[in-house]
Every structure is written in structure tokens, then in C-alpha cells.
Symmetry: C2
Subunit: 216 residues, 2 copies
Amino acid sequence: MAAPRPTRQFPDQPLPPPGPRATTVSRPGGRSSSVRRRVLDAVRTHLAEHGYDALSVDAVADRSGVHRTTVYRRWRDVGGLLADALTEAIDDTWSPTDTGTLDGDLHAVNREVYAALTAEPPVTAALIAASFRSEQAAAALRSFWADRYDRCAAIVHRAVDRREIPAGTDPRRLLVAATAPLYHELLLLRTLPDPRLAEQAAHATATAARAGAFTD
Amino acid sequence: MAAPRPTRQFPDQPLPPPGPRATTVSRPGGRSSSVRRRVLDAVRTHLAEHGYDALSVDAVADRSGVHRTTVYRRWRDVGGLLADALTEAIDDTWSPTDTGTLDGDLHAVNREVYAALTAEPPVTAALIAASFRSEQAAAALRSFWADRYDRCAAIVHRAVDRREIPAGTDPRRLLVAATAPLYHELLLLRTLPDPRLAEQAAHATATAARAGAFTD
DNA sequence: ATGCTATCGCAACACTTGTTGCGTTAAGCC
DNA sequence: GGCTTAACGCAACAAGTGTTGCGATAGCAT
């Protein structure tokens, strides 16, 4: 006979878009652009200074000078804040460096992954941890990774063009094989970071690719 | 001039061992073995029925009939509960199945990993999520994985003995390369589960191993 | 300038989580 | 049987987290 517990939510707005709001469009009474900037700045600085564990909606609100209620209304939870901060921080001009060989290209990508996963403070790890609790953070991460893997497909195409690996090689499978060991070791198994990881995973994957292991 | 915030903890006991307590040793006044069984049963059933998000110390306490305070004292948090439930559920007799080929052995292991990661309810995913917030859960997972990778080294040794792959192949690197793509796709990238993942990752890794990609 | 209104600030609340001191209970030992 | 003592139950508290209604305000339009 337990009460249904109505899972309360803010009824005011239909979950307002936390994404970049058009600044020139008609929004009478809106102060949102200024608020958003202050909040997102607070997220970044607080994350850098005190880490993920200390990141709460209240802490961000206090630091930004924006009221708790406003942050809860627009971002819902910490995951929403991180998601918005991520999408804003994305570099739209990013592309994988061209070293001339598949080994080299994969190694270059893996060095970036390695750097991101061992960065201090661990913002990437924080975002991934948050993605297990917040659908917003999970969605933001998925779209970020989808974009990066799409761009990295160029690496595979270049290798095919050089006749280094067979045509019909699946870019995604190859790229996941190359990068996944880094995430696994550094994030899940939590072994002490070894910079050779990046090169070893890149080399093993390139070897498998040359043998045609990523074609159907 | 902010107050140091003394990070309060229970002073009663020096963090009691949540592990299996010797039942025959002198523990005057202790009712611990019965309590532990009731609590761990509650963790399992509650996890199975309501999932990880609904798993809280209070929920487990209510269900088990054991008082909140007792659970907090002995297990500290949800991560501690999951860690204890995991170590109790571990099958000490597990060993990798011998199929006769490296491809087959890796495929068999990967099928188990795949099954664990796609199980409903997602207890493995729950444990991994918890490991980002609880040091106890993280430690339990690390030791579990360390044990499994040690046992799986037999796969690599068998392949070396069969002259399938070169001697000097690093078992751990090989095994991580084989399994990591599953964790990455199913847990992080969260693509819709594809059973072929297990076979593809196994085959690609075996190919790389035959080419000597996992030797120094 | 004046009005409109979405957004924000504010106070107050409810629920969850974690902690403490202290009295009570049950397991083991004589 | 009674004694000892770690483990437990209990009430009460403290802090963090999430929610609500309502009044105030800033940005835009006219």
C-alpha cells in the first residue's frame, strides 16, 4: 500500500534546452545568455580546482552567483551541467593528424586519448562517471564520440588508399580496437598509467588490420 | 576562514571487515553472520527487482530488516554492499574453456563478457558504475579482474605451446586487446548490442597475436 | 518611455543520505 | 545458570539534494 511517490519535477518549463541559446532571437525577460556563461565558467573552474567529487549543483550555483533554483531548472543535475560544458568545449575544427602511416596515425590518436584519460584533474573520467548516472551526460558523450570516430574514419581511408590495408575494412571496428584498450586499462582496470599503452595498442591494431582482420 | 569540516565518520569501529567473517571465532555479542546473510540477500534481490538506481543503503536496510545504522557501520555505502556481494558471488573454480584454438578460446571468454555486460538487470554495469564512486567497489572489481586475467593467461600459454603464437607474447596485453572492445562498445559507447562483437574482437586479436604484435 | 513576459531570485519545504551517543541484545565462555 | 562484550537497534540530529509557488527583474518590442 506504498504511496506511488509521484516523482516530482519542475512543471514550469518543458525541460528547457541547456544547449546554446540563440542570443538574437526574441526572448522577452530573458537573461539566459549571461546566466549560462557564468554557470558554465563556474563548472569549469570548480572542476579544475576541486575535482568531480566536489562538483554539485549547489557548489556551482554559489560560485557563479546564480541561484540554486535556476540551475536546477535549466540543467536538472550535475550531469546536465557537464554535458553542456562539454558540448561548448568541443573543438569543431579537430581532425586526426596525418603521419603517413596507419601505425603513426593510430598512435597519434591514442596519445590524445591517453592524455585526456590521465589529465589532472580528471575531467574526462569525471564526465564518463557522470554518464552512468545522468542521461544528459551520457547523450552528450555519445554524440561527442560518434563525431570523433566519424572524423577518424579518414585515417582508415588514407590507409586503404595507400594499399596498406584491404578495402572493405570497417573503420569503426578498427578504431574501437585501437582505442578501447586505453579506456579499459586506465578507466576500468586502473593500472598505473604507462605511456607505452598508446603505441602498443596502435601497433597491434594496425597489424591486425593489415592482415584483414577488420573486413567482413 | 571556512570551517575545516571535519569529515565525520563512525568512530565506533575501525571500519569493520565487510568480508566473510569467521563464524567460529570468538565474537561475544556478535550476531554478524545472520545479519550479513540477510543484508547480502537483500542486495541481490533488490538489485534484481529494481535495478541499480533504486539501490540505496536505506532500501537494503528496510528490505533486510536490519537497521540503517548497522548497514552504514559495516558497509559504509552502496559500493561497499556491492563489493561484498561480488566477492561472495565469485566462483573460485572458474577457468577458461579449452576449445583447441586461440580464436575459439578468446571467443568463449568474450561470449561470457558479452553475456555479463548485456545481462538484465545489468548488475555488472551497476558494479562498474559504483566503482567510480566507491573505493571499496573499485578495489573489489580490480581484484576480481586481476584474478580472471591471471586465469585466462592459460589461454595464451596453450596457444604458445601449440606454436600458434610466438613465445614471449604478453598474456595480459593480448587479453585486454580481446576483451576491451566489448566493454567499450557496450558500456561506454552504448551502441545497441551486437553478438558478433565477441567473435570479431576475438578474431582480430588472435590475428594480431599470430603476427607477433604482443611481444616486446 | 512604457508594457510585456520569460527568466530569475527567494523562502520554504520535503526527502535522502550520513552520523552520533547510548541503551539493548545475543553469542560465546565459564 | 550467569557474566562479558562485540554487535545491533533506536532516536535524533546534521547536511545535502531536489521541488514548489510566487513575486521581482531584465531584455525586447512598440
